[in-house]
């Protein structure tokens, strides 16, 4: 099948897609956008977080065809330089595998809640798993980005 959608502001088309491919697979393997990570493929880790029509979702849980005609923004296209810098400055990046998903999820939190409490940060990032940092630096980074 054929999938046509807008990705980071550009129209992208993938031909001969197997109908069972996830949006995450389409983004990575068809469009060469490797920022969204694949770790669990079951919605548990959040490393594949993207915006679909402005809503934060796990790309691994969206069937490719469901993105047809819709607008996708990945970590490559999200306007989050301040969040990225805060993650670097706070030391919230170790292996970095979880970072793209956390950047998009943090961007989503800060556009909804510009000055979040620690409880709100924990709640908003509950679906993003990091195996390295222990989260303290991540929460610090979000607080820095919010300032």
């Amino acid at each position: 099948m054929r999938i046509a959608c807008t990705v980071n502001g550009h129209t992208r088309v993938a031909e001969n897609v197997w109908a069972g491919e996830s949006l995450l697979y389409v983004l990575r393997e068809r469009f060469g956008l490797y920022g969204s990570k694949n770790a669990c493929e079951q919605g548990e880790c959040g490393s594949c977080s993207v915006y679909l029509d402005g809503s934060l979702v796990c790309a691994c849980l969206v069937l490719g065809g469901q993105a047809n005609g819709r607008e996708v923004v990945t970590v490559e296209g999200v306007d989050a330089a301040g969040v990225q810098q805060a993650f670097v400055d706070a030391g919230a990046v170790q292996c970095g595998f979880c970072t793209p998903g956390l950047i998009v999820a943090t961007h989503d939190l800060l556009r909804r809640v510009p000055q979040p409490s620690d409880a709100q940060i924990r709640e908003a990032l509950a679906g993003n798993v990091c195996r390295c940092t222990g989260y303290a630096k991540i929460i610090e980074a979000v607080n820095m980005a919010a300032r």
């Binding site: 109908a19 069972g20 996830s22 493929e41 079951q42 809503s55 849980l61 469901q66 993003n128």
Partner: protein
């Protein structure tokens, strides 16, 4: 695998009639896990996300009719005041990413005994609207589940909506899990008070082959509560209510917990839910968004 993408509700019903084997996909938070992990390889999937009607809700003769495709996030944001019990349960579902995508229609479709929407829908005596090209029927949620991951929906049918009264009184929900987010309930409990009719509704999750009501507990507590004076129920009354809820469960031992633990937790949760609901400030008795008090 074939991918069907109806543009309208009529088209969706016609496609389902022509392809009864087609697996509907809404938020995909259950279906995609099965496809990705190769637990299921449907011949045909049918995307319901383009269908506008499924994402709409409205009030019909005083009853809320909520499209099967309304996400948990929208239920919380748009209906939290009218359906506080379902909203509390929705806040415990997965993560923001899952709540943005997951739907009550999908929860009903999966019909897991652990589905978090089910106990509040049971407690509020909601109905499921099923549709096919041959017509529409409404099934009470309490008759919808027939076994673990089984329900009364026919192969040619789709879930159009669920119907529920705006909360006529306080509602509560409680869930046990290893974390505050991203957990399948070890067990859960929902409570709905209907002061005008002097009725109490209950729903038990993840402690039986299907979500269950605690019918004897409902009758007992409705008779004991001081509906006019609003005096708090005695400890003995709360304990008896908890015992009757625990007795209504049909739990098993599994990886998430033992049957004995589930019964114990249900007795505790049901007592707490009742105490929280009864302590709802008077101006919120007509309904109103509330979450559990901190630390309980």
């Amino acid at each position: 695998m074939e991918f069907l993408q109806p543009a309208t509700w009529e088209e969706a019903l016609a496609m389902k009639a022509a392809h009864p084997e087609a697996v509907p996909i809404a938020g995909g938070t259950d279906v995609m896990v099965e496809i990705n992990l190769d637990h299921r390889r449907p011949e045909t999937v049918m995307d319901l996300t383009p269908i506008r009607e499924l994402t709409e809700w409205g009030t019909d003769d005083g009853v809320l009719r909520i499209g099967a495709g309304v996400s948990y996030t929208r239920l919380i944001d748009e209906l939290g005041d009218r359906l506080p019990g379902l909203a509390i349960a929705s806040r415990t579902v997965g993560s923001p990413q899952i709540r943005n995508r997951g739907t009550v229609g999908g929860n009903l479709g999966t019909a897991s005994p652990a589905g978090d929407a089910h106990p509040p829908l049971l407690a509020a005596d909601a109905e499921v609207e099923l549709a096919s090209t041959s017509g529409t029927r409404r099934v009470p949620v309490r008759e919808f589940f027939t076994g673990p991951k089984r329900h009364t929906m026919r192969q040619d049918e789709l879930i159009a909506a669920f119907l529920v009264e705006p909360a006529p009184g306080p509602q509560q929900f409680s869930k046990v899990g290893t974390r505050n987010a991203m957990v399948i309930a070890v067990c859960s409990f929902a409570l709905a008070l209907d002061p005008a009719r002097r009725r109490v509704g209950t729903g038990i999750g993840s402690a039986g082959p299907t979500p269950l009501r605690a019918v004897d507990a409902e009758a007992f507590i409705a008779g004991e509560l001081d509906w006019d004076g609003r005096r708090p129920p005695s400890d003995a009354t709360l304990s008896r209510f908890g015992e009757l809820v625990a007795a209504a469960a049909k739990p098993i031992d599994d990886v998430r917990g033992t049957a004995a633990y589930r019964r114990h937790a249900l007795a505790v949760m049901s007592r707490r839910c009742l105490a929280w609901a009864w302590a709802t400030p008077p101006h919120l008795w007509g309904g109103g968004a509330r979450s559990a008090p901190e630390g309980l």
